[in-house]
Symmetry: C2
Subunit: 180 residues, 2 copies
């Protein structure tokens, strides 16, 4: 089996997996649209999320541990409650609002270029081609909308829970990432 | 002039510009190394920076205005002083620590793939191919180390200047991004 045959076999497997595992509601329509084209299929996706993550030291993301994950707007109280469960005396706690992300397998470099141009023109400026092989070209689609905030260090809350507008903006950011 | 000839002419112009404008000290060695290879040249670079930026509304980055920029570690007092000069009653103020970034023009897709693999394996996981034309393939090299923190809204300081460990972590993050 060569080139196109391999691509089509991989697409069938990806669609079976998608059918079984599903996708975030907010992004399901876009995924269906992309998978409707012969030259593309999606391999993973997230509609954007807010996470609280415990990191042993900056940069050591492999050893990071999720304290909480939300695929929706969150309230200040929810975030504070989740922060209260964190107790890592050596690590850091980060609150992050992450962009929607899509990985799209493309049948050729030409098709990848077209998708990439469209993604960047639509505001997903952190998009790029992540790998090129004989079998497929992988495009990652991401926007620049994000928040990466250190909120705890050495087991204690460094923001002292005094930030009135903070989590409200967080909610707005997440909402905005979804509009794009 | 075709393919390789255009690439070489563009490289000459880029090196002249670099010679005139210079590059950040911390990244000058890497740039020189890359430009030493026939198949690559750098078109822009930043060794990583800490910025305070005023944004009319989330996402409207085109209309953003720099309040301060540092290409080095910053102290809490420096950041607070710069924050004090900001007065946009409608906008938001964000403190960001940005990853080193490099744009490298590559003579072929094959050369771009090699550079991209090396960059990702070296920890610059946000790297990707941003454009492919007959003349060149552009690779963007970036790491995941960053901070994006809303610190002001409607002209006032939403963090209330109470965060003891905050700017220290900021300094560490910037130092870490440079180590990679």
């Amino acid at each position: 089996m060569h080139g196109r045959g391999i691509f089509e076999a991989e697409k069938r497997r990806a669609l079976e997996r998608l059918h079984k595992e599903g996708a975030d509601d907010d992004i399901a329509g876009l995924i269906e649209l992309l998978n409707g084209f012969d030259d593309y299929f999606t391999t993973s996706s997230c509609s954007g999320r807010v996470i609280l993550i415990s990191i042993p030291e900056i940069g050591a993301k492999e050893e990071a541990e999720f304290i909480a994950k939300w695929h929706r707007k969150v309230s200040k109280d929810e975030v504070l409650k989740a922060m209260g469960t964190w107790k890592d005396a050596d690590g850091e706690l980060w609150l992050m609002s992450q962009s929607p992300i899509l990985h799209v397998s493309c049948a050729s470099i030409e098709k990848a270029k077209q998708l990439l141009s469209l993604a960047i023109a639509s505001g997903f400026k952190y998009s790029g081609i992540k790998s090129i092989t004989m079998k497929r070209v992988m495009v990652e689609i991401m926007s620049t909308e994000r928040m990466d905030v250190p909120v705890g260090k050495g087991g204690s809350d460094i923001l002292q829970r005094t930030i009135p507008g903070f989590y409200r903006i967080e909610g707005e950011l997440h909402a905005r990432a979804r509009q794009e």
